[in-house]
Amino acid sequence: MGATIRFLTKRTVQFAFGAAIAILLIVAGFAYRSIVISGENGRWVRHTYEVLENLQELRFALEAVSSSVRGYILTGEEAYLEPYHAAGLSLEQHATTVRELTTDNPVQQRNILVLEDVAVAKLERADEDINLRRTQGIEAASEAIRAGPGLHATVEYAAIVSQMQDEERRLLVLRIADAERSTNRLKITLILGTFLGLLITVAAGWSVQRDNSRRETAEEALREGERKYRMLVDGVKEYAILMLGPQGEIRSWNPGAERMTGCAWEEVAGQNFSRFFSADDVSLGRPQEILRKAAESGEYEEQGTRVRKDGTRYQIRTTFTASRDPAGNLRGFSVISRDLTENKESETKYRGLLEAAPDAMVVVNQSGEIVLLNVQAEKQFGYRRDELLGQKVTNIIPIGFAERLIADDLRSTEDASAQQIGTGIELIAERKDGSEFPIEIMLSPLQSAEGTLVTAAIRDISVRKKAAVVLLQKVDELKRSNEELGQFAYIASHDLQEPLRMVASYTQLLSRRYKGKLDADADEFIAFAVDGASRMQRLIQDLLAYSRVGTKGKELLETSSEDALQQALANLRGAIEESSAVVTHDPLPPVLADEMQLTQLFQNLVGNAIKYQNPGVPRVHVSAARNGGKQWDFTVKDNGLGIDPQYFERIFGMFQRLHKRDEFAGTGIGLAICKKIVERHGGHIWVESKPGQGSTFRFALAGSQARS
């Protein structure tokens, strides 16, 4: 497509220039013609003016003749004869001139002849008259003039001259008009032509300009490309890259080639590449054969021996690619070679590493056969080395390995093994004795002279798997145990409720119906029974509440701790009002929590703060502060009784109380529940206090992710 455009553009430019030139020529032609015509017209105009002038002279001349004759006749003075002769001459001359000037105009020619005749006649008559005067005196001459045709002739003459003048004037008008038209045409043609010419020139010029800049860009890009190519080729040190001519002449090469051959560029430039071959190869004609094959099939790969500058031999693998010009002629060859000797060195190193590896290492070729293994592999699989070498890897790893090696239509081996890099794959392996064991393999591909090989590091993971199973079992057991415990607590308290209810209810009924009706002892006994029963009921309810923290706990979600506190305060409304407590709080953050349990937590802590008070107004303040990372430290501070430090741990125990029953109600489970709730949330709870100086309960909770 680009070529077509270029072609069209070239043609267009040529065409444009051609057109411009043509137009200019045309314009010039027009101009020339116009000028010529103009010149002619000008000449004609001048010509006409000349004729008119002459005709006028004729008139004057005739007048002069008449008047000079009259003068002579009147005076008889010879002086008048001079002008007469002059006028007569003038008549003749001018008539001739007019005749010559109007040769193209037959009308005028006839007129002039007539004129001349008349003039001649007139002059003859005049001569006669003059003679008469001279000889016979004035009267005779006057008589002759009066009777003669003189006047008539003059009038006739004047009329003809007039006619001629009119004719000339008519021609003059025509010619002037012509001249004008011609001038106008010229003007227009000049303007248009010039304009068109300019336009085309500008267009062509712009097109050329654009082409130029495009060409410049292309050239720049080409130069850039060449630069990059050069850099690339020079940069490749591992490979020798050469450009050869059709006969094998070395045209260029890269630093890699220098390194490989040990020669400098100056030593090899222009020489044939066969100089690197061994003498034997050269005598067998190998270099030429290689070039021929490459030229035939376009590309040829060979592995062979070369000789360095210092005489040492080395193996290389080379690819020859034939390069042709658009017409298909062989331009030369591009050659890429790799020194295989280095590979062999690293190969030895590699074998060493493999052998020493702590895991079983197995190297497999593309057909799935084991080409290399180490002593660990022997031990793990229970085979001798020679029993495995050359065998299909499926003998030891039946499923999962060989399939991954296969280069199929969808991907090359490189891609296939690339997919497996770094990922451990769990498979089942089979020992020589047929027993199976779980393994984890890690693959890595390896390029070698024999093609792509895949190295597998094989680890026996039977121990790991067992451990995993054991772990899962233990976790299951733990879960079950927890569940059972939860269930037990629940069932225990639940089933205990019913008989307890009976005891409590009926002792109360007894008390109601028979108080004061039996003796005082009976009253006291019943009172103890009632009391005991109701305490037991409360204990069981608390136990149930405690067990529910675990069994009825919900997922930890983003919760507004402020909302939870508000709910707790709502639940404590009665207690707050009764004690006129003042509960304040700072803004509280969102946390990860079970909302109901968080409410319970606040309720217990604030409830305690209100309950364990001196007389006076209980003040409670709830606040929260970040503690380093993502946690929040909550504080519930009160101005209550305070706690003796020796009890700081105990109060969080189950059913632990620090006060007598008649001092403060409660079973002592509140803080145990708080502790369980906080620990379920992954935090911990503690107290700071001094007796008589109030207490500060603190607990830490994880903040929620949403806001930091």
Partner: protein, 144 residues
Amino acid sequence: MTKEVLLVEDSPGDVRLTREALRGVDASVHLHVAIDGVEAMAFLNREGAYANAPRPDFILLDLNLPKMDGREVLARIKTDEKLRMIPTVILTTSDAETDVSNSYRLQANCYVTKPVQLEEFEALMKNITDFWLRKVKLPQQARH
């Protein structure tokens, strides 16, 4: 008019308590008692010893019963054309959410948890009786 109430309750203590509470509220109530699910069904279906039993206007049903438990009794009542229109209130110690929702799903008319304290229990019975036997319109039952 006398109201016939069937109480299905296995704890004699609770039965007595209920009777006491009812008496205090509405002496015209006839309280019938079945101590397990089987007896309850026999009463409702007028089988055997219960051939002449009246159809109750109202049933108080505990969930945890021996032999046939209350959940099954509920299911049977509410799938029986002749019995399903009898308002059946579950009165039980369980406050488990599953029990509550299952009972409503089986179309129990109402679910009430038995309180632990005597006084509260008495208040509850008063409320139940007041509401269901005085305020609510019960369907007329064909007596025999």
